[in-house]
């Protein structure tokens, strides 16, 4: 037996004695392996300072970086999903919901807010990928419908930030019908002459892409985001050959003609502000942000 061989099988250190740096202090870039502190990452708007990889962030972060002084009001925050079909796979849907709520401190995979971007009012509906993969269920569909109605009534532009694996299977056809529901509501928004900006972030796939995400008057994405209808694995299995390089990245989707532009996170606020200035929609009444809510941090 070689001197380097283990004398005993398996790892002998108990989990509680395992020595690791605490989570959340350091960021290790999954693209370029660059390491920096989480503080540095946040100061750089959660973009890797070395390779500009745009990490996935949540609705609170987007609200904070978009709205003037990071201040906004949440809308329709009283909606919650429930297990209407008693859906059970390896785990009951109800348990998935409970653990997602606990883990994320959110009620579902979308939050809607109103605030100002360079002094212009804007309604932003933003997904949270950490909540069951940003999946679209009844709550998301209802929030988009309510946001659309609110945008029409107040004559305030709407922005939807997508970050989703697609429809929520555990709500079966209810989730499928949210595609029709949201698209139908957006057709009313278009008729009312209110601009709709769709912002597709990593990842935007499935029923979300095949409904509201592709329906923007302006479609914008972040660099390097995965955008598609079918997921790359499904396509690969279907056609049984390798996928082209950069396939389904935002750069690729821009080339194939389905995006207006790709905007880096540091330029997002300015770009949205410019768009709002050019569209120049006058709100029907003064938008008063009654109880200004500061961003999460």
């Amino acid at each position: 037996m070689g001197w380097f061989k283990r004398l005993k099988d398996g790892i002998q250190t108990a989990t509680e004695h395992k020595r690791e740096t605490p989570d959340g202090l350091w960021y290790n870039c999954k693209k370029c392996k660059h390491t920096c502190t989480s503080k540095e990452l946040k100061e750089n708007l959660w973009v890797c300072p070395s390779c500009q990889y745009h990490t996935r962030i949540g609705s609170n972060e987007y609200f904070e970086l978009l709205f003037d002084e990071g201040k906004y009001n949440l809308l329709f925050d009283d909606l919650e999903a429930y297990d209407m079909l008693s859906f059970v796979d390896l785990k009951p849907y109800i348990e998935r919901l409970e653990s997602a709520k606990k883990k994320t401190n959110l009620k579902d995979a979308m939050q809607v807010s109103i605030g100002r971007v360079n002094k212009k009012p804007l309604i932003v509906a933003c997904m949270d990928f950490t909540f069951i993969g940003g999946s679209m269920g009844s709550v998301m569909g209802e929030k988009i419908a309510l946001a659309t109605e609110y945008a029409i009534k107040k004559r305030v532009p709407l922005m939807i930030i997508s970050k989703s694996g697609g429809a929520r299977m555990m709500e079966s056809a209810y989730s499928l019908m949210q595609m029709a529901k949201t698209s139908a509501k957006l057709s009313q928004l278009a008729q009312a002459g209110i601009p709709y900006i769709s912002f597709l972030t990593d990842p935007t796939t499935g029923g979300v892409t095949a409904s509201f995400a592709m329906l923007g008057d302006i479609n914008i994405s972040e660099p390097g985001a995965l955008i598609g209808f079918a997921g790359p694995r499904v396509i690969k299995e279907t056609i049984k050959r390798d996928l082209p390089e950069n396939f389904q990245t935002s750069e690729y989707v821009l080339e194939t003609g389905f995006l207006d532009m790709i905007v880096e996170r540091k330029d997002l606020k300015e770009t949205i502000g410019d768009l709002l200035n050019i569209f120049d929609i006058q709100p029907s009444s003064r938008i008063i942000l009654s109880s200004l809510r500061s961003g999460s941090n």
Partner: protein
């Protein structure tokens, strides 16, 4: 005849019947009494098997190789049909067909998924999986219908929109999204029937309508039971469970208020008596179109959008 797994007892009875007839012919024996007995048994067995189908069995029936597809119904229902081709941008998709038709005196535009009736044609039709140009052809025809004030009839029967490289490059997602957006506001009536498989975005891409019905042995869901099993159970072996969990049958869909009703099929499924099925469908279509034609344009669009507006279940805290 093609028998499905759950129809095994029927297959056995048919075999008995065949053997009996053979014996009768060869031996010159009168077997008519026994024949009638077996035929009665077949009828009873069929009734029994079909009286309580599971979700998975309905999925199997919806995919029965002898099941009638869109063009069969079109041929039986219309006294005249002119198929129109192409999306005017890229190509003519063979997985979605469409054209101008006359159902008795009612002029219509018909769109629908089309599957092939044999191995060669199944490939030609891409197994009913449309590319973006299919959805865009359907939209072009719907806009044609709008201009000439013709109601739209849509037949849904797809295992899904095609997941391919070119489909993505040409904007599969955008094509479906655009259809939903335009169909919501279309000024003419839209009447939809799920005649086979209603798989997800590929189905709803031509499936937003004033009224949506499902034939009795079909399914409609956000995902196929096989893919659902693979994603949620991490294995392909749970398709039966997935089919139950997804509540994808016409009865469930009707109960949930996500469709407007179920159209009864002949005993043994649409393929057991396609002509009877076409006849039922035709009278159903005529009745529904007459009702939809009576509603004013603005009111009809509002009712259509409000119907979808109310789909979804959630709680308020």
């Amino acid at each position: 005849m093609v028998f499905l797994e759950f129809e095994k007892p029927l297959e056995d009875l048919y075999e008995q019947l065949e053997k009996l007839n053979e014996v009768g012919e060869q031996g010159g024996i009168d077997v008519s009494k026994m024949t009638r007995e077996i035929e009665a048994k077949i009828k009873d067995k069929r009734k029994e098997l079909y009286s309580n189908l599971t979700g998975w069995q309905k999925v199997q029936l919806s995919r029965h190789p002898e099941r009638p597809y869109t063009l069969y119904y079109v041929d039986k229902i219309c006294k005249k049909f002119l198929e129109l081709h192409g999306d005017r941008h890229f190509a003519d998709d063979k997985a979605i067909v469409g054209g101008l038709g006359m159902i008795d005196d009612q002029r219509v535009v018909i769109i629908g998924h089309q599957k092939g009736v044999n191995t060669k044609l199944r490939q030609y039709r891409n197994f009913g999986m449309a590319n973006p140009e299919g959805y865009r052809k359907a939209l072009r025809l719907m806009k044609l219908a709008e201009r000439f004030k013709l109601p739209v009839l849509s037949f849904i029967d797809t295992p899904g929109a095609y997941p391919g490289i070119e489909a993505e490059e040409r904007g599969q997602a955008e094509a479906i999204a655009k259809n939903l957006f335009e169909m919501a506001q279309l000024k003419v009536p839209i009447l939809c029937y799920v005649i086979g498989e209603g798989a997800s975005g590929g189905a709803i891409g031509i499936g937003l309508g004033d009224k949506v019905f499902m034939l009795e042995n079909t399914w409609y869901s956000v995902i196929s039971p096989e893919s659902c099993s693979s994603i949620l159970w991490h294995s392909w072996d749970y398709k039966e469970q997935a089919a139950e969990a997804l509540k994808l049958t016409p009865e469930h869909m009707s109960e949930m208020g996500l469709i407007d009703g179920v159209v009864e099929e002949p005993l043994g499924g649409a393929h057991a008596d396609p002509e009877a099925m076409a006849k039922t469908l035709k009278s159903h279509i005529k009745k529904e179109l007459t009702a939809l034609n009576k509603i004013g344009v603005d009111k009809r669009i509002k009712m259509r959008i409000d119907k979808y507006r109310n789909m979804g279940k959630f709680t308020k805290v």
